[in-house]
Symmetry: C2
Subunit: 220 residues, 2 copies
């Protein structure tokens, strides 16, 4: 059987970097796509995304989405207000939602994939995202997958291999794939080091702990 020709959505976080290495093993990866939509932590994330693409020798494309920062509301964005602290799945993390971000990134990746001769897009959404982010849930991914397949000549597929597992399981998979998690970024605050207190830092720590994998991150 022909392997899927895949474009990987790569933020530079733990999950998408793991999807990249998972995809390199399972599929024919034709490139990785990152977005800069003006989040506070974009500069660190994108540096790590590039690092892994260079390391494994695949093409890295960054698309700038200026309109998100100009027109959308989210505390994740520069000038979007304070990042809340606490647990990642808690109610107060809702302010970090960027409306329909995954829908937008998947749609652009879908058109990009068709233009570049790929037939699938891989995304790292996982079950830990489900509480707060509606566009990370399984039923959204299924509807989006149908839209992508119906809306393109190549019937571009959506691969979400981690959508029903959690971050702990992702770390276990990544550890087996020898993913260097010291070269990934999670913190929403975008300071020099991971803050250790915002939802995504708390989630990061917890995942390493529960997976029984040493956490290489330097927290503030």
């Amino acid at each position: 059987m022909m392997k899927n020709k895949v474009v990987v959505l790569l933020s530079g976080g733990m999950d998408s970097v793991t999807v990249l290495y998972h995809s390199l093993k399972e599929y024919d990866v034709i490139g990785a796509l990152s977005f800069n939509y003006g989040s506070k932590h974009a500069h660190q994330e994108l540096e790590y995304a590039k690092y892994h693409c260079d390391k494994v020798g695949i093409k890295h494309t960054v698309i700038k989405l200026d309109f998100v920062q100009q027109l959308f509301k989210s505390s994740l964005l520069i000038d979007g207000g304070e990042i809340p602290e606490g647990h990642y799945a808690a109610e107060n993390m809702k302010s970090t939602v960027v409306p329909f971000r995954n829908g937008i990134m998947l749609s652009i990746a879908c058109g990009f994939a068709e233009s570049q001769g790929a037939n699938a897009v891989a995304i790292a959404a996982h079950s830990g995202d489900h509480a707060i982010y509606p566009d990370c849930r399984t039923n959204f991914m299924e509807a989006m997958r149908a839209a992508m397949q119906l809306g393109t000549y190549e019937k571009i597929d959506l691969l979400a291999p981690f959508v029903d597992i959690d971050k702990t399981e992702i770390v276990r998979i990544g550890a087996k794939l020898n993913v260097d998690y010291s070269q990934t970024w999670s913190c929403y605050k975008g300071l020099e080091l991971h803050c250790g207190k915002c939802g995504t830092c708390v989630e990061r720590k917890e995942a390493f702990e529960l997976a029984g994998v040493p956490d290489p991150t330097k927290y503030q």
Copy 2:
């Protein structure tokens, strides 16, 4: 019943201008959204889009999508090659497809709508588009609608009031709404006047003729 608060996707062509006037009658229109993705005819289209927004007094937002011209393949784009002549629904018009364009525009409009306090997005896709453009078809719209509703807190709706009628019917509806079609643009070539020969000009002429509505267009 509360009226839908709607963002209208407005290209400045006949169909979307008709959707705008239709929406003004049916819904609470909170703004119109246009995209500049580097098509040859963007400058004319966007001028007409602005004209109608100014005329009816609604906010007009234009989002520039530079990445389409840089990374996507289509004869519709500047530097994308020759626009084919002939019938709009003919096989050779496939070169004008911009991969997943409607998926991308709807996704961005969906996030924009949620950020701006709207609860629906209206799009002018119609049955004449179905032959060549997979992301104009009814089944794509249904899947995309599900993705938008599942992927947002506000369950943003997708309204495609013309998806099962053709351009002739749209012209009839527009004529009843007193739409000034002299202030709309169709031609893919983007010259000073409508060329009268490309697929979308042929389709435009045909629609007026079949609808029995005088065609106000100056063709070359």
